[in-house]
Amino acid sequence: MAAGSKKARALAYQALALAALAAAASFLISNTAANLEARHIASGFGFLRREAGFEVGESFFLRYDAADSYWRALLVGLTNTLAVAAIGIVLATALGTAIGLARLARNALLRALSAAYVEFIRNVPLLVQLFFWYALITEALPGPRQALQPLPHVFLTNRGIFLPVLGSVPQLAGFNFAGGMALTPEFAALLIGLAIYTAAFIAEIVRAGILAIERGQRDAAFAMGLTRWQSLRHVVLPQALRVIVPPLTSQYLNLTKNSSLAVAIGYPDLVSIANTTINQTGQAIEGVAIIMAVYLTISLSISALMNWYNARVAFK
């Protein structure tokens, strides 16, 4: 076959793909325009400046009330998403690393327990786990007056979890606690669920990363007189990090995306507030577009950050 006809065919395939895409897009856009007009749904982002009129359960950094705009409500949702994701990532990394190391421990019982954790948690949907933690907090924990106190000034109740912070400890006042830091049941369930679920995946990544380091590296460390812990800390882990970081990044992204399950237990994250906004304004396209744009931005930024880190730790 002549090289020319092969080239022509390649061009034809690509032109066909573009034409099909354009045809599908114009079909969808014209349908959507017609439907929006028929249903008298406004389009555009003008609604963002209007008054939201709904309350938001909790807000970490921003003050918000029902008289504020949709724009501000969505911003509160975004900060709530980022807050739960950031704390979740820290907790999941700590727990996951500990369990990953336990999977390789010399102690057989420790190995078996950590393996059971990973197997069980990985094979149950996150949504089930979130519902479970939420039910456990709201149904099984006692009311504020009979609060469980596992540590001094730490109270577990069906109204949430109360922790001491610098200069302020939670105190029972009337029917609930005041002072310290309060985690609502929704936030606590989401945070616990995300951390425990993601930790199981991180544990497997840590384990695989350590197993990828040649036995000789550890032997050399022992030969230098380092203890088991020192050789792990100074020889094995720094090298294992190169193997661990890329899949770890995708777990961080997963955790952030999974935080959108908040909508199912009523934590006001971005998706939950966008959902309320869609229901009130009917502007589904704009609402879904906002959700997608925000998550794509987060995904791409974390990827970029991790690529930069990867380039820094790579063998030169």
Binding site: V288, I291, L296
Partner: protein, 335 residues
């Protein structure tokens, strides 16, 4: 040191397991009696006993529930057959076609004297199984095309495939489900409607295709250059080489990660609850809303976890057995 650790750990395990066993078994109430449940200190498994028909079959007409039961068994049998290597031959596709036709007849009815049951009334375990089975069946061929597209030498095809895969993988599944449930109706010409179940199924297919495509791409990347050259040398074109030489090997390599992706997808189907479909998790959640039985969420979700675990763990074990077999094959080959 290690022995001391074992003792401490064993004590901790016992300290956790004894109260759990007390709650889950010794003090538990198994009779479907809400008053007895509230009086007892233990778990209320009576809730599951009382609601098992609703949890398994949702709002499917009560007298017809043998139909989803039979459909569930047929679907499970098809999966079990497909897991066995000796059945990996073209006839398996026929078995699936026949099996799915049987399931369609059972579920919808309207023929052979079976009363018609619309999709809105389907629910429970069969919905979870159908959403994941049909999702995979449609998404898998799509994902092969996407993976080939991403490795194509044609820049437009490659760019479109990359854009699709990265876009879908960059957003949460919920946003796709929202898109399907609230935006899809706006995309269709006036007068054309599709029901909620089909809309959710479309979102799940679009989602699974992107993730499976990356797994298939991994398999394609593992095929050495020489295989392409050899295929070209015997005169095969792109499609001939892809179909007869490259894909069979690439897919075989990709079986373990594919099964892991299946497990993830099976778990992810539980998200359809958020857009109001009655899958297994949803029927459990709805069953809890009856005032007499509210407040037994811990038991209910432990039960849900157990059901999902049985399916997912089974699939995980299967993929691991495969990994080991693949390893032993590659080890034997050079001899």
């Amino acid at each position: 040191m290690s022995r001391a650790l074992t003792v401490v750990l064993a004590l901790l395990v016992v300290a956790a397991l004894v109260p759990f066993a007390q709650w889950a078994f010794l003090d538990a109430v198994w009779r479907p009696d809400a008053a007895a449940c509230r009086a007892a200190h233990g778990a209320c498994w009576g809730f599951i006993v009382e609601k098992h028909r609703f949890i398994l079959f949702g709002t499917y007409p009560y007298d017809e529930q043998w139909r989803p039961a039979l459909a569930t068994l047929a679907l499970l049998a098809l999966w079990a057959l497909s897991a066995m290597r000796i059945f990996w031959r073209p006839a398996l596709a026929l078995a699936w076609a026949a099996g799915l036709a049987l399931i369609a007849v059972l579920m919808w009815g309207g023929v052979l004297g079976l009363p018609y049951v619309e999709n809105e009334r389907w629910g429970g375990l069969i919905l979870t199984l159908l959403l994941s089975t049909i999702g995979l069946a449609v998404a898998f061929p799509l994902s092969i095309l996407l993976a080939l597209g991403r490795r194509s030498t044609l820049p437009v095809i490659r760019a479109l495939s990359v854009a699709y895969i990265e876009l879908i993988r960059g957003v949460p599944l919920i946003s796709l489900l929202f898109m399907a449930s609230v935006m899809l109706p706006l995309f269709l010409p006036a007068g054309v409607t599709i029901d909620k179940l089909a809309r959710a199924q479309i979102a799940l297919i679009l989602f699974a295709a992107a993730y499976l495509a990356e797994v298939v791409r991994g398999g394609l990347q593992a095929i050495p250059r020489g295989q392409y050259d050899a295929a070209a040398a015997i005169g095969l074109g792109y499609w001939g080489a892809t179909r007869s030489i490259i894909l069979p090997q690439a897919l075989r390599i990709a079986v373990p990660p594919l099964v892991n992706t299946f497990v993830g997808f099976f778990k992810d189907t539980s998200l359809v609850l958020i857009i109001g479909l009655f899958d297994l998790l949803s029927t459990i959640k709805v069953a809890l809303t009856e005032p007499a039985w509210s407040g037994f969420g811990v038991e209910a979700y432990l039960f849900a976890a157990l059901v999902y675990f049985v399916f997912c763990y089974g699939m995980s074990r299967y993929s691991r057995r495969f990994e080991r077999r693949a390893e032993s094959i590659t080890l034997r080959e050079p001899a």
